[in-house]
């Protein structure tokens, strides 16, 4: 066997291993999700069956119909929850990203006194256990009268997301060479233009990943939402999930159906934001 054949075999072997690894990883990731979808479509008797029923005998959308059929007929106010979740998650993500970009840029590009202290201090605000925070926050919110409002939750989620959007966006601005922005300024751009035309596109993967993470964090947050919301005016989907639990029983089928409703928008959004994970640097427009 000459060296070329050996090399070729080795290469295709490596490729096959990559594919197998990828397949196994994806299977493990997807299985619980598929299980949820399947369980939302079949009768509870089958979910609880012993011995297990692997291949469903009948599929129906009953759980979904029931869920949307309105309060009092076995349904839950899912549209209101959905609307609240959407408004709160999107608004808080956008604000957190803007604040995070400003802060991240400050850390990446300027020197100022106590920089390390500020940087660590920011992240430490996220170290506070929910329980030490949620009750006093409840008191403060009650005094201000913003319990059970969108604004209250948005404010809380922005505060929750800002520390890491700053850390992450700072990390990505650091990867952008300083010379690039300086070169743009020499070429006649203002600092502001240099930022938007040169530095921002290059840091985009970081901003996109921070955005995805921030959105999913607020979309899924439960502990604060369950404390700071009271009614359908501001209850979010994760809180709504508990509508399906009684003291000793859990309506698995209904819960799975609501889970599917929760996951689909997140999935769609993540898929849409995907393309920004690739920066201008890799597309070859600018060489680093």
């Amino acid at each position: 066997m000459d060296i070329n054949t050996a090399h070729r075999i080795k290469k295709s072997l490596l490729k096959a291993l990559t594919l197998i690894g990828l397949f196994i990883a994806m299977a493990i990731i997807c299985l619980p999700g598929l299980w949820i979808v399947l369980n939302s479509l079949r009768p509870t008797v089958e979910i609880m069956a012993k011995p297990p029923v692997w291949i469903p005998r009948e599929l129906s959308f009953d759980a979904y119909v029931a869920m949307f059929s309105g309060v009092g007929q076995g349904g839950i106010p899912v549209l209101e929850y959905f609307r609240n979740s959407m408004i709160i998650a999107v608004t808080s993500t956008v604000i957190a990203l803007v604040v995070g970009m400003a802060g991240g840029y400050a850390f990446a590009r300027y020197r100022f006194p106590f920089k390390t202290g500020w940087f660590l201090g920011l992240m430490l605000t996220r170290a506070v256990p929910g329980i030490a925070l949620s009750l006093p926050l409840f008191f403060v919110y009650a005094k201000l009268g913003i319990i059970d409002t969108h604004f209250g939750l948005i404010l809380a989620y922005v505060a929750m997301n800002v520390p890491f959007t700053i850390w992450l966006i700072d990390g990505f601005f650091r990867q952008v060479p300083k010379d690039l922005a300086e070169a743009a300024q020499i070429d006649g751009c203002t600092r502001w233009q240099a930022f938007w035309r040169v530095e921002y596109p290059l840091a985009r993967p970081g901003i996109a990943s921070a955005g995805i993470f921030a959105f999913l964090t607020s979309w899924n947050e439960f502990a604060l939402a369950s404390q700071l919301t009271r009614s359908t005016d501001s209850k979010t989907l994760p809180v709504g999930l508990l509508d399906y639990t009684a003291e000793f029983t859990i309506d698995w089928r209904g819960m799975c159906a609501l889970a599917v409703v929760m996951i689909i928008p997140a999935l769609a959004l993540t898929y849409a934001v995907q393309k920004h994970l690739v920066s201008g640097l890799t597309s070859g427009a600018i060489k680093g």
């Binding site: 619980p32 300027y110 256990p129 329980i131 999913l216 993540t270």
Partner: protein, 298 residues
């Protein structure tokens, strides 16, 4: 006359500081005060009764607290390291894929779309000893003929929680590391290939130093989240069976709400915050070192 202006970095950081002050600092001061009182939710007046550091003294001699503390550190160490290794592997696998990358990236983040509450319910159901997916699968495959009591046996329950935790959060590492890989300039990689590096050497000396900062940022975020959120454990076992999976946050919640000793719970929280500070500081040091290695200025 020129108006006095704040220097730009402070101006840029101002919004962040304002939001954090409003939502975190003020409630934090309130809860710190209450940790110095025998505050009970059932007796709101007790918040005005100052008892100094008595709550803290009691905690330091409370073995239950320290066991929970140790278990939290154990969970953090194991889960975080495994998540980072798996996340790195996943990110590199996905980055290597030539086709369908967008779909793969979306699937990769799939577990992040599960609310922790949902993950808790989901894995509680899957690990159910009687009708759960995992026991059913094991029995159908003939690997075992009796039901394994995943959530009832203390050691297994801890393992089950770890599985749920790792399943749900590996994606966080994967997404940040992948974004780092995507932002990585190609020239050093080509240079390494021209210089005749083996794939391992290329990874070790070119790729890894570059993505390391992002891995540490993810570590910091995750360590703080694991140390503060409690949805998954609360729902899966609520610290049981017989306190074998009791971690700091379930203990704090139980003390605060079930036993109604809010002052005590807040004192515990402050000791727990020390743990988070330690972890954050540790990861920050590593982050700074990793950045020094790729000659980034701090």
């Amino acid at each position: 006359m020129k108006a006095w202006r704040l220097p730009p970095p402070f101006l840029l950081l101002l919004p962040a500081v304002i939001v954090l002050a409003a939502v975190v600092i003020i409630p934090l001061l309130l809860s710190f005060w209450s940790s110095l009182t025998p505050f009970r939710l059932t007796r709101p007046d007790s918040i005005y009764q100052f008892i100094g550091f008595r709550n803290y003294e009691r905690i330091f001699t409370d073995s239950e607290f320290w066991i929970a503390f140790g278990r939290t550190v154990l969970l953090l160490t194991f889960a975080l390291n495994l998540e980072m290794i798996l996340g790195l592997g996943l990110a590199m696998l996905v980055e290597r894929a030539t086709r369908g990358q967008r779909i793969l990236r979306t699937i990769m983040m799939f577990p992040m779309m599960f609310s922790p509450v949902l993950v808790g319910f989901q894995f509680k159901f899957m690990f159910n000893d009687n009708i759960g997916l995992i026991n059913n699968a094991l029995q159908s495959l003939g690997l075992t003929d009796q039901a394994i009591p995943w959530l009832i046996d203390g050691n297994l329950a801890f393992f089950a929680i770890m599985v749920a935790e790792i399943w749900s959060s590996t994606a966080v590492f994967a997404i940040f590391i992948l974004a780092g890989l995507m932002a990585m300039p190609r020239d050093p990689l080509e240079a390494a290939r021209v210089d005749g590096c083996t794939p391992w050497q290329t990874f070790r000396y070119v790729t890894w130093p570059f993505v390391m900062p992002f891995a540490f940022i993810a570590m910091t975020i995750r360590s703080l989240d694991v140390a503060r959120a409690y949805d998954i454990i609360k729902i899966m076992t609520d610290g049981g069976p017989a306190k074998r999976t009791e971690v700091l946050w379930t203990l704090i919640a139980r003390t605060g709400y079930s036993d109604a000793k809010m002052g005590m719970a807040n004192a515990m929280s402050y000791v727990a915050i020390l743990l988070s500070i330690l972890f954050t500081f540790m990861f920050f040091r590593q982050l700074a070192k990793a950045r020094a290695q790729i000659a980034a200025e701090w």
